[in-house]
Amino acid sequence: MKIIGLIIAVLTGALLIYGTVDFPGWADPASPASTHLSPHFIEKTMEETSVPNIVTAVLADYRSYDTMFETTVIFSGGVVCFILLRIFRRKEPEDRLYRHVLTGATIRVKEGGKIPPDSDDFERIDTLWTPHDLIIKTVCRLLIPFIQLFGLYVIAHGHHSPGGGFQGGVILGASIMLLAISQDLRTAVQRMREKVDALLSPTGVFIYAGTGALCLLLGLNFMDYSALASVLYVDPVTARSHGILIVEIGVGVAVMATIIWIYNNLSSAGKYDEGL
């Protein structure tokens, strides 16, 4: 297998190098890629969509249809992880472990034994459980709100600086993932229930596709945000800018929820127990 792999890799490499010979030079301003379509995007974006970040404008307006499906791809990734891994009817372990939050003492409850009353003093833990590190826990607790704030900024400011729905969404998702890693998955799931993930994820895509469909209902083509002008009471160009913001929010919501959903399923292999 190793030799076959090497042969295939070398053959493919040789083919690609053969094709590379006729490429225009690297970073050549006169190459077809830089002269055919991109001048239009660079020179007209400001007039046509009023968004200074050209990448955002092309992403969410000129090629918004691509981006809609890109959001759909990650949504379907989330659904696939869920359908593959999630175990609903799991076998309960014989002994359940509970930890007294205030003292840190661990209680073992035998199978069939009485479960402690539903109070906040006890939390369910697994045999793999290790005590939390105080420093990590505290620092992460402090950091998470700032990370989330930054994520929101990245989504909202995607028109003027690098960033946008994806990056912001991933950062928001990462803040919850950090909570899950620094404490445990149960704590993170208490903050963000599985059902919330599973509902937010399609909702985000729905915001995106729904905006497009709204344009369609308003009489223009799918995804033609200038149709929103009559709803938002602005001129068509500003309507495009606003349309981009709306779909970026949709992307952010979808990506955040899906990233958390995938992480939850992967890190607990679908059992939603202690996590990492």
Partner: protein, 81 residues
């Protein structure tokens, strides 16, 4: 664009890539993959693709690495090659 920096990082990317597939420990491979992604992200920001490198920094070096680590913890670190 500073071409010396470009060359240096390109070389590092290749080293990290080879490392990720040869190291005999899956957790190590996951972390080296994170390093590889981060080098890539630096490389792209040198080339002026700020949005792409931002995404790669958050998705590739961040979320993907965490996914790898999660999967390795749920399976095994052992590998024969």
């Amino acid at each position: 664009m500073i071409w010396q920096l470009d060359l240096a990082i390109l070389t590092l990317v290749v080293i990290a890539g080879i490392g990720a597939i040869t190291v005999k420990d899956l957790l190590g491979a996951a972390i080296l993959f994170g390093a590889y992604s981060f080098m890539m992200c630096l490389l792209w920001s040198i080339m002026g693709a700020v949005d792409v490198s931002f995404t790669e920094a958050s998705v590739g070096a961040g979320a993907s690495t965490v996914f790898f680590v999660a999967a390795v913890f749920r399976t095994t670190r052992r590998t024969k090659d």
